[in-house]
Amino acid sequence: MGRYVIRRLLQMIPVFFGATLLIFLMVNVMGDPIAGLCGERQCDPATATQLRKEFGLDKPLWQQYATYMGNVFTGDFGTAFNGQEVTELMASAFPVTVRLTIVAILFEIVIGITLGVVTGLRRGRPIDTGVLLLTLVVISVPTFVTGLLLQLLLGVEWGWISPSVSTEAPFDELIVPGLVLASVSLAYVTRLTRTSIAENRRADYVRTAIAKGLPRRRVITRHLLRNSLIPVVTFIGTDIGALMGGAIVTERIFNIHGVGYQLYQGILRQNTQTVVGFVTILVLVFLVANLLVDLLYAVLDPRIRYA
């Protein structure tokens, strides 16, 4: 186990540097950050040169990247061009997005797995067909349309929720945005659980459990569900990173001041430090979530042993 974790951690290193370098290059292709600093006006050439020197932007790109990464490892994510520390922005933005992601994941687990189990056990019945059609519709409607429609119906027409989320973004205000963020993955989780349950329902160990006279509830929760959840756990684990990065759209619709909002602002204002810093953290989250999923396999399936 220990050796496996170390090997995986070593494998993560090139991916981490590759992904951050890629985003670093993309952001630098994006345009001159100094031009962004001057806003809509033309920059004074002398000031621009001086600023470039100050921020180290006159050095070659690889040197900028090396300096940046060196600083990141000492916890210095640099300063946004409005003078605010990027770490400060992160401290205000990440808790919000983490809360949003938690709500979304809870929706995926509770609704997705429940629907998947129900339909998987009743394959071919009307409820199965109905839920399947519903998941297809949810997958086909883009998230921003789902979000706008729910905002219109629940927030504006019926007044159940406030159409935009306050700056503190407590959990109860994030329920509907979390549902919107989760919607597409929710449909996938339902389908995945359904397929997995339907496959395993005919397995020998389930028949044995039923033959032993175990109550149906116990057969389903202890035997069937535990074995069927492995692909679902994989999906949900890889989805954590995707949800946090994909929250841009949801956060924009519901005016949530989280990671997506900061990234959107950063990109619009060509604020390279903010963008690269936030993406670095997102990449880390993605990699760690993937590692944890692989380790969870061993917990869920005792047959898997990592050498």
Binding site: S140, V145, G241, I248, V249, A307
Partner: protein, 336 residues
């Protein structure tokens, strides 16, 4: 889980992605001519690389085609896609007027003769714009999918076939691309583009989409490579290119086709999302994403201007996902 530790996590990654697109089987009866034509052309294209001996009457593709012809999901989605292709080629045939000709005095008006879907916030005819908007969505979807499928299957196929250092490097590169959220990459890359054509958007999708197909193609080629007939061809002295083109490709391409078809729907959806965020296509291009984005400002007073393009978008994405689903059911021998 068969073995303690999968030696190549990327193969399982590919399977996983294929499973994500997993959509259920349906099996009722029914036929229709238009879909049959489309399927026929599909079959011809798929059959081209097939070189089975004449004595073997049924190939995977002819079996799949027999299944597809009887699948109502395939027929309905095929018809919907044919209709979409038709209106994107000749939008004028079902919609009169110019999508760019707007009359502010009619802004936000509801349904009326000549404008069954009403008018949007700028007084443009929503029906005309929705019909004309199909073109960019279909163009982006088809071109991006073709680019992704060709680039991904060539790179992934070669890596899977030859293995070695190139394979290791390619696998790490795909890992890197998977770590970057797609919408985020789109925002960063496309925020500098000022061109209002569809090509930057397509280019971006190919750039960030190929690793998905590459993983699947790689896994599929590795599985196929171990088959006896490939070993036999190698023993008979077949060249690498002959083995790849004549023996491996026809047998390894099915998962790529399935995933690419489902991905086509998601690319259309992604284009609309990017346009909504203001970095995808830009006016005066007529696109569902742009229309939904501009209609969202008037959502309280004129929701119809949002609902029609959104509905068209959803139906289009649904049609491609269902088509991919039907093709997957037909091509998966395990379900037979």
């Amino acid at each position: 889980m068969p073995e303690p530790m999968p030696p190549e996590p990327h193969i399982s990654g590919g399977d996983r992605a294929a499973e994500d697109g997993a959509i259920a089987a349906t099996g009722l009866d029914g036929t229709m001519d238009l879909a049959a034509q489309e399927g026929e052309s599909l079959e011809k294209r798929l059959d081209a690389p097939e070189s089975g001996p004449e004595g073997k009457p049924r190939s995977l593709w002819s079996d799949a085609w027999r299944d597809l012809r009887r699948n109502p999901v395939f027929i309905i989605s095929g018809l919907a896609i044919l209709f979409l292709v038709f209106i994107s080629l000749w939008p004028g045939s079902i919609a009169s007027g110019n999508p760019l000709q707007c009359d502010l005095s009619k802004a936000q008006e509801g349904s009326q003769p000549g404008a069954p879907f009403g008018y949007n916030g700028q007084g443009c005819n929503v029906y005309t714009r929705t019909v004309y908007g199909a073109r960019v969505s279909v163009t982006v979807g088809v071109c991006a999918t073709l680019g992704v499928a060709i680039l991904g299957s060539v790179l992934g196929g070669l890596a899977g076939f030859f293995g070695g250092a190139g394979d290791a490097v390619l696998s790490r590169i795909t890992d890197i691309f998977f770590a970057i959220p797609v919408v985020l990459g789109g925002l960063v890359l496309l925020s500098v583009v000022t061109s209002s054509t569809v090509w930057p958007v397509i280019g971006f999708m190919v750039l960030l989409g190929w690793p998905q197909i590459s993983r699947i193609a790689r896994g599929s080629v590795i599985t196929t490579r171990q088959n006896d007939y490939v070993q036999a061809a190698r023993a008979l002295g077949a060249s690498n290119s002959r083995m790849l083109l004549r023996h491996i490709m026809p047998n390894a391409i099915a998962p790529v086709i399935v995933v690419a078809t489902i991905a086509l729907g998601t690319y259309i959806s992604l284009e609309a999302t990017l346009s909504y965020l203001g970095v995808g296509l830009k006016p005066p291009t007529v696109s569902w994403g742009i229309d939904i984005s501009s209609a969202s400002q008037y959502i309280r007073t004129a929701p119809h201007a949002l609902l029609w393009p959104a509905g068209a978008l959803a139906v289009t994405v649904l049609a491609f996902i269902m088509l991919g689903d039907a093709v997957r059911d037909a091509l998966d021998p395990k379900l037979r």
